[in-house]
Structure formats: structure tokens, C-alpha cells
């Protein structure tokens, strides 16, 4: 039986792993690769100690540090966690679809989040045929073409700034009366002459033929349905936590599926800890995930010590 299993190998999971490794804890780190959502973060200028970087570069630095500690994540897709006498069982599948199952005394859930979907007509049909949830990945493919960004927060602002450099026309649609997010990004985007911010806009449908041709939105002010013609649509409307494997009857998830933790990263179930974007922390930031991973690992160490007494 392992002392601990960390589920997720991005910012929170990796910082937890470094602390567990330094304390000589017998643990497993599960995740497809180091990086997760951090890797597709685009420009990162707010991570203390590094003035200017991007998600990919920062991920590379995390990887280097993991290597230094001989930490290698196991590529496992976790599908279930269950309670047993004296601990828990973590189950899932590996990349060859073979069953995986390990016992552990504690679990640190750091499974991150995935982009939220619009759930409107055309979204599934035109996924990767004009619709993308990753501007950093697919944005450059739309160089020279008009595009729309849907969302009102930092990710949408960053996507807007990136696409403004590549495209002749960029529409940014937000359902809010104003863009929300870092003031510096809002001001920067407002300066771009080829960017048009459409407020109070509820996207209704994405249409096209073989590929996306445009979208329809409801103007909440005038109650009119309007249409814009674009080749690409980038959706940045927030994230939803990757916590389906956590049983609902454990009652440690909130309404949107985030793991409820106290300030020490503990849940209501002794031995279960959570950190990063899958937790109910309001602010989802790389620096916060790193700190939460650290707290959760120290709490897990304290829990393991208490078991030995």
C-alpha cells in the first residue's frame, strides 16, 4: 500500500509531489503528462520569480525540476476511488487501456479542470472544424482570417490579444456588460483597432458548411439575433473540474463538482486532500495551484504521521 497517491500532474500535483519526495514518502503521481491546463496557458507574466514566460516554457521548467527529483508521472486515467479498511483504492486505465488499481493510505486530488462547453447547436459538429478551446494550439492556423472569441474573462482577453496579432478582424463576445479580468489586459485589448468587443451577447448557434462560417448571437440589450461571419471560434467561457471519479455520496463536492477543502487542503474525509483548479478555491491561478499543492502535501504528511501514532 502506498502512503499517498497524487491524482493529476500539473502545477498542484507536481508541487505536492516535490514535497512528498523530499520527505521520503512512498507515493505515486498519476497524470497523462506534466502540464495539464498550465501548458496551454499562453503568455504567463504573473508567476513570481519569472518575469515573462508562457505555459509551455513554464511546464518545461516544472518537468526539469521533476526530473531532478526523479519524479515520473504514471500515465493513468483515473476512473474511480473507493474506501477500504485503512485507506483507499484508486482505479483506472493506462494508455494501453489495461486496468490499473493501487491501494493507498491517502489521496491528493489535483486533477485540474477542462474547458466548459457552450452547449449550443453547431458546437459539436464544428469542433476542430473552426471551433477550438485552445487558442495557443490552434490560433495560428487561422492567421489572416476573421475569428470570434467567446468569453468575458482573462482567458478570453489573452486569446483576443493573441489573435489580434494574427487576424484582420477579431470579435470578442461577452454575455456581461463589461469584460472582467486583469485591468492591464482589458486596457491592452481595448487599444487594438482590429478588435471589436460585443457586450451582452449570448451566442446561440455556430453555423457553416464543411467548416465554420459564422455564429449567431442574441443581443440582450435589443433582443435581436445577430450574425457575424468568421472562420474560427475560440471558446473561453471558464472551466469545469475533472472530478467525475470522486463518488457523489462522499459529499465532498460542491454543486459544480469542485472538491470542497478547508484552508489546509483537507476534505471532510480523513486522508482525502485536494488542491488546484479542481478545488473550490475561487481564484484559479498557477501560483495558487502551486501553493495549494504544497499545503495539501504537508497536510497529507501530517495525516500519515498521525496514523503511525
Amino acid at each position: 500500500m502506498y502512503d499517498s497517491i497524487i491524482i493529476g500532474s500539473s502545477a498542484a500535483g507536481l508541487s505536492a509531489a516535490i514535497y512528498l519526495k523530499r520527505r521520503g514518502i512512498n507515493f505515486l503521481l498519476l497524470g497523462k503528462d506534466i502540464g495539464g491546463e498550465m501548458a496551454i496557458a499562453g503568455e504567463v507574466d504573473n508567476y513570481p520569480g519569472i518575469s515573462h514566460t508562457n505555459g509551455l516554457e513554464l511546464t518545461e521548467k516544472f518537468k526539469e525540476q521533476a526530473k531532478q527529483y526523479e519524479i515520473e508521472p504514471k500515465a493513468i486515467n483515473v476512473t474511480e476511488i473507493t474506501k477500504i479498511n485503512g485507506g483507499f483504492v484508486v482505479s483506472g486505465t493506462n494508455t494501453e487501456n489495461h486496468a490499473f488499481e493501487e491501494k493507498t493510505k491517502s489521496i491528493i486530488i489535483a486533477s485540474g479542470s477542462k474547458p466548459k462547453k457552450l452547449k449550443i447547436p453547431g458546437e459539436k459538429e464544428y469542433y476542430h472544424k473552426g471551433i477550438s478551446y485552445c487558442s495557443v494550439c490552434d490560433g495560428p492556423i487561422f492567421k489572416g482570417k476573421p475569428v470570434a472569441i467567446i468569453g468575458g474573462g482573462n482567458s478570453a482577453l489573452e486569446s483576443g490579444l493573441m489573435m489580434a496579432e494574427l487576424c484582420p478582424k477579431v470579435f470578442v463576445l461577452t454575455k456581461n456588460a463589461e469584460m472582467k479580468g486583469d485591468e492591464i489586459l482589458i486596457k491592452e485589448l481595448a487599444k487594438k483597432e482590429n478588435v471589436e468587443i460585443i457586450k451582452m451577447a449570448f451566442t446561440q448557434e455556430i453555423f457553416g458548411e464543411e467548416f465554420t462560417k459564422g455564429l449567431k448571437y442574441l443581443n440582450q440589450n435589443t433582443n435581436e439575433i445577430k450574425e457575424i461571419l468568421v472562420d474560427g471560434v475560440f471558446v473561453h467561457i471558464g472551466m469545469s473540474p475533472n472530478t467525475d471519479f470522486v463518488p457523489d455520496n462522499w459529499n465532498i463536492k460542491n454543486k459544480i463538482g469542485e472538491i470542497i477543502t478547508d484552508k489546509l487542503g483537507k476534505t471532510d474525509i480523513p486522508g482525502i486532500f485536494a488542491a488546484g483548479d479542481c478545488s473550490d478555491i475561487i481564484y484559479k491561478q498557477i501560483a495558487i495551484a502551486v501553493g495549494q499543492g504544497t499545503i495539501a502535501s504537508l497536510s497529507a504528511i501530517s495525516y500519515l504521521n498521525s496514523l503511525e501514532k
Binding site: 497523462k32 503528462d33 502540464g35 501548458a39 496551454i40 499562453g42 508562457n54 505555459g55 509551455l56 511546464t59 500515465a75 494508455t95 494501453e96 487501456n97 476542430h128 472544424k129 473552426g130 477550438s132 485552445c134 495557443v136 494550439c137 490552434d138 490560433g139 495560428p140 492556423i141 487561422f142 492567421k143 464543411e210 467548416f211 474560427g232
Partner: protein, 77 residues
């Protein structure tokens, strides 16, 4: 030894992961950056029928996205 073409953009993390994985598997890799090479962009869209990266062409088998499982299958064929 298997040969593959990988279509990428410069900062796409999944492209880097796929590339690293194929190199680890000993695949002889030709990289095409669809950000700078418009001919390669059209070729990728024509081959895969879509506009997301990475796209892998492993000796005719087209894989969209980074999936270790699908890469393994294509390498076994």
C-alpha cells in the same frame, strides 16, 4: 523503423508531447509547422478534414490530437 509526419504549431503543448513521444518510440519524424508553412496547413486540413493540431500521419494512418493509445495502435500496424 516507422516513419511519420507531424503537423504542429509553435507553442502547442500537445504537439510537443506528441513529438517527444514519437521520438521516444524511435519513429523517424518529419515536422511541418502549419503556422509558417501554408502549404503544409492545407495539406493537413486535406488529410485530416479538420483544423486542430497536432495531426500525425503515421505511414498513412491519420491521428488528430495527442493520444498515446492511438499512436501505439498505429505503430503496431
Amino acid at each position: 523503423m516507422k516513419k511519420a509526419i507531424i503537423y504542429v504549431t509553435t507553442y502547442c503543448p500537445y504537439c510537443h508531447m506528441a513529438k517527444e513521444y514519437l521520438i521516444k518510440k524511435g519513429v523517424v519524424l518529419e515536422e511541418k509547422n502549419v503556422e509558417t508553412d501554408l502549404k503544409a496547413r492545407d495539406e493537413m486540413i486535406q488529410k485530416s478534414g479538420q483544423m486542430g493540431v497536432p495531426v500525425l500521419d503515421i505511414e498513412g494512418k491519420i491521428i488528430v490530437g495527442f493520444s498515446q493509445e492511438e499512436i501505439e495502435k498505429a505503430l503496431e500496424e
